[in-house]
């Protein structure tokens, strides 16, 4: 009894933090307002897609109708059927999947290695190298497109998976991210491992990797999504229809002078669907792992 009273005295008055108050008292005006903001924001985020989704169920050659028809009066699945029957859509999806997965797996491995080196090791030229990594982020991709294309072409990699994958591996952002993650880990751990006679690689493999698993998930999801929506490079490097990725394939559904917007929208919807699913399943890790730890300098 006495103990309980003491606790009660220590407890802050219920109405001081409104958040705690809300949690305790159930729905309050404050909480309703917050949900209001979120609902409005979600609506704004969602509404633009409704245009595309609605168009994908219409039999339409025009992009827009006067007056606009928000909900198709005669919804049709023809666009989706046509897309899957007349175009190698499944192949495009497979291509995107192969490319995005390969890049993701390799990137997660080599970026965590590079991040570890930059975060925890001393070696000559460390700062200079890291500055180079950062600076490569600042060069617009359009500017290096031609030399890159020529290199890849000279390596005979046009219209191959390698041609789609390899250049994507030269992306600096993951190194930056992993360095930020690994830097937050206490040095004692590696030192202890070192005293136990672990080699650097063993430390990396046994100590560092398990600790940054959330970070790896973040990097993986980020890389996968970047690759899935990547456009300019696959557009330039793939000239054969069967080597198109989804974004390129969907874009190829429009020709120069006439466009079937229904098919195009159906393509856009189908190309986003897997990504939305991936995100829905992984978002728990995405947030739980949280970039937070990584963001401390």
């Amino acid at each position: 009894m006495a103990i309980e009273t003491e606790f009660a005295e220590l407890r802050p008055p219920a109405d001081i933090t409104r958040a705690t108050a809300a949690r305790r008292k159930g729905p309050s005006l404050y909480l309703i307002a917050i949900y209001g903001i979120l609902v409005i924001a979600a609506f704004i985020a969602l509404v633009p897609f409704l245009y595309v989704i609605s168009t994908s169920f219409k039999d339409t050659i025009s992009l827009f109708q006067y007056p606009p028809e928000w909900i198709p009066s005669e919804p049709t699945l023809d666009n989706f059927r046509g897309l899957l029957a007349d175009y190698p859509f499944v192949r495009w999806m497979l291509n995107s999947f192969v490319v995005a997965s390969a890049v993701t797996i390799v990137k997660v491995v080599i970026d965590s290695m590079a991040g570890y080196a930059f975060a925890k090791m001393t070696f000559p030229g460390k700062d200079a190298l890291f500055l180079v990594v950062l600076m490569t982020l600042m060069v617009p991709f359009a500017a290096t497109l031609i030399p890159l294309f020529i290199i890849v072409r000279d390596l005979n990699l046009t219209n191959t998976y390698a041609g789609l994958i390899l250049p994507a591996l030269a992306s600096p952002i993951g190194i930056f991210m992993m360095r930020q993650f690994i830097e937050t880990l206490p040095t004692d751990l590696e030192n202890a491992a070192r005293l136990d006679g672990c080699s650097e690689f063993q430390i990396f493999r046994r100590v560092i990797l398990p600790l940054i698993r959330p970070g790896l998930v973040v990097l993986g999801v980020f890389t996968f999504m970047t690759q899935w929506t990547s456009y300019l490079w696959p557009l330039v490097i793939g000239t054969k229809t069967e080597m198109f990725t989804l974004t390129v394939g969907v874009q190829s559904l429009r020709s120069l002078f006439t466009v079937n917007w229904g098919i195009l929208s159906a393509g856009a919807v189908l190309s986003m669907l897997p990504l939305v699913l991936v995100f829905l399943f992984l978002q728990r890790y995405f947030i739980a792992g949280s970039i937070a730890g990584a963001l401390k300098e």
Partner: protein, 459 residues
């Protein structure tokens, strides 16, 4: 003292390894060698790549294609139809059947990245036959990437074919007296009009002069209908709707010999005329108000625009695929005055052979085949584009396209082919837009644009 105690092995080891401290810049011999080698190798590698990119390795001497020898030729064009790859599967079979020994490999660039893809292609190993649109033809000819095919074109066995292809295309592909391509396909741009609305306003014949067009547009404009609309912003290719008014006046961007700017004053009148449609007569929406695909077209389909500048291939949609609910007509931009000559704007593409192609003869066989009446006409009908042949025309499903082909295509006056054309356009257009918004007169706009053109011709 210490030295004496050292064994030979120790000494050698120390000589190699004693001072390795990067932080203080001490480097021993081995390290130096290692670094130097690394630097050398990477420099050589970078140099080699830079060499390869900047000065392409000399191509092997063109192996002359003989009827017996096998050759594979690659063709690249942009898709003119969502099913274009399928059409080309068929064309490939037909070509290979009639040309044993030659394998055809049709490929596609994407229109949005055409410039990047073609540049990259020419920089390394381009396709043997490239479909080049007029806007970029001069640039790549000027860069020495397109083969001179004068000899083939002027050969006796091609004389009949040459005569059957519209003369304007031969003007376009002529650079310094040499021929660099064969006209194949194109799109013409001009006016669509809603006959029902014109009938209602008592206009029985489409206006042939500028003044008549203004009067008609005024009569057609109500609070629910715009009398006249044309594309007015750069990403909508607004220059296609502007140029016929410049051309009708005998004006053009440059003089006929492409040596000086010619935009002032006739083009000024054309620019002012279109601006007045918006600002003075108020028969056309303010500049930029309606985007082409989400504005002009749906508004026209719904009867909200009476006279609309657009691209003629759209006739296939409005007449056949998804017919509009009113009677549709096509016309050319009006002439300045009574009896003046009307022109049609067109964007045409040419079959060219790459200078680097090792199979030029086989490539020429393909060009001849593709541009021949029996091949190009059915293909054009399928994709809904115009051809440039004068002896025959495609069997279009759309009657309006037929009309465009027979009546307007012969009157096409395309863009002037200068290697700087795109840069000129990029610099001219902001001035035209200012005039459309009423921030300056057509005259001022063309004066500034003229300076840009002159500057680019000088450079």
């Amino acid at each position: 003292m210490g030295k004496r105690i050292l064994s030979f092995a120790d000494r050698r080891r120390l000589r190699d390894e004693a001072v390795v401290d990067f932080r203080h810049g001490f480097i021993n011999r081995r390290e130096f060698m290692l670094r130097a080698t690394a630097a050398g190798v990477s420099a050589a590698f970078a140099g080699r790549i830079a060499d390869a990119i900047s000065a392409p390795a000399p191509m092997p001497a063109p192996s002359r294609w003989a009827k017996q020898a096998d050759a594979t030729i690659t063709f690249i064009k942009g898709p003119h139809h969502p099913d274009d790859p399928k059409f080309w599967d068929t064309l490939k079979q037909e070509f290979e059947a009639s040309h044993p020994g030659i394998t055809l490999n049709p490929t596609f660039f994407k229109w949005e990245t055409m410039d990047a893809e073609l540049t990259a292609g020419y920089a390394s190993q381009p396709a043997d036959v490239v479909y080049l649109v007029d806007l970029v033809l001069a640039k790549f000819v000027n860069a020495g990437q397109v083969a001179d095919i004068s000899a083939d074109v002027n050969a006796e066995d091609f004389a009949q074919e040459k005569a059957a292809i519209a003369p304007f295309t031969w003007d376009v592909t002529d650079f310094g007296g040499k021929t660099y391509g064969v006209g194949a396909l194109g799109a013409a741009f001009g006016i669509f009009y809603n006959k029902d609305l014109l009938d209602k306003a008592g206009i029985t014949e489409f206006p042939q002069t500028r003044d008549a067009l203004v009067e008609a547009a005024k009569a057609l404009t109500t609070d629910r209908v715009w009398g006249f609309q044309f594309r007015d912003s750069f990403p909508n290719y607004a220059h296609w709707d502007w140029l016929p008014y410049v051309h009708d006046d005998g004006g053009d961007v440059m003089t006929a010999d492409l040596t000086a700017q010619n935009l002032d004053p006739k083009a000024a009148a054309a620019t002012q005329y279109l601006a007045d449609m918006k600002l003075v007569h108020k028969v056309s929406p303010e500049a930029g108000a309606y985007e082409w695909l989400t504005g002009n077209r749906p508004l026209f389909e719904a009867g909200g625009i009476a006279i609309l500048h657009d691209e003629f291939p759209q006739a296939a949609v409005w007449e056949v695929d998804k017919p509009v609910s009113f009677n549709l007509g096509v016309a050319q931009a009006p002439a300045t005055t009574e009896g003046g000559e009307q022109t049609t704007m067109g964007n045409f593409g040419y079959a060219t052979i790459s200078e680097k192609s090792p199979n030029k003869e086989a490539a020429w066989e393909f060009v001849k085949w593709w541009t021949s009446a029996d091949v190009i006409n059915p293909y054009a009908a399928e994709i809904g584009l115009q051809t440039v042949r004068t002896d025959s025309s495609p069997d279009f499903k759309s009657k309006l396209l037929q009309q465009v082909q027979t009546e307007f295509v012969p009157k096409v006056q395309g863009v002037q082919l200068a290697e700087n054309y795109y840069e000129m356009l990029t610099n001219i257009w902001p001035e035209v837009e200012r005039a459309y918004r009423g921030e300056q007169t057509g005259e001022e706009a063309m004066k500034k644009a003229g300076e840009v053109v002159t500057g680019l011709l000088g450079s």
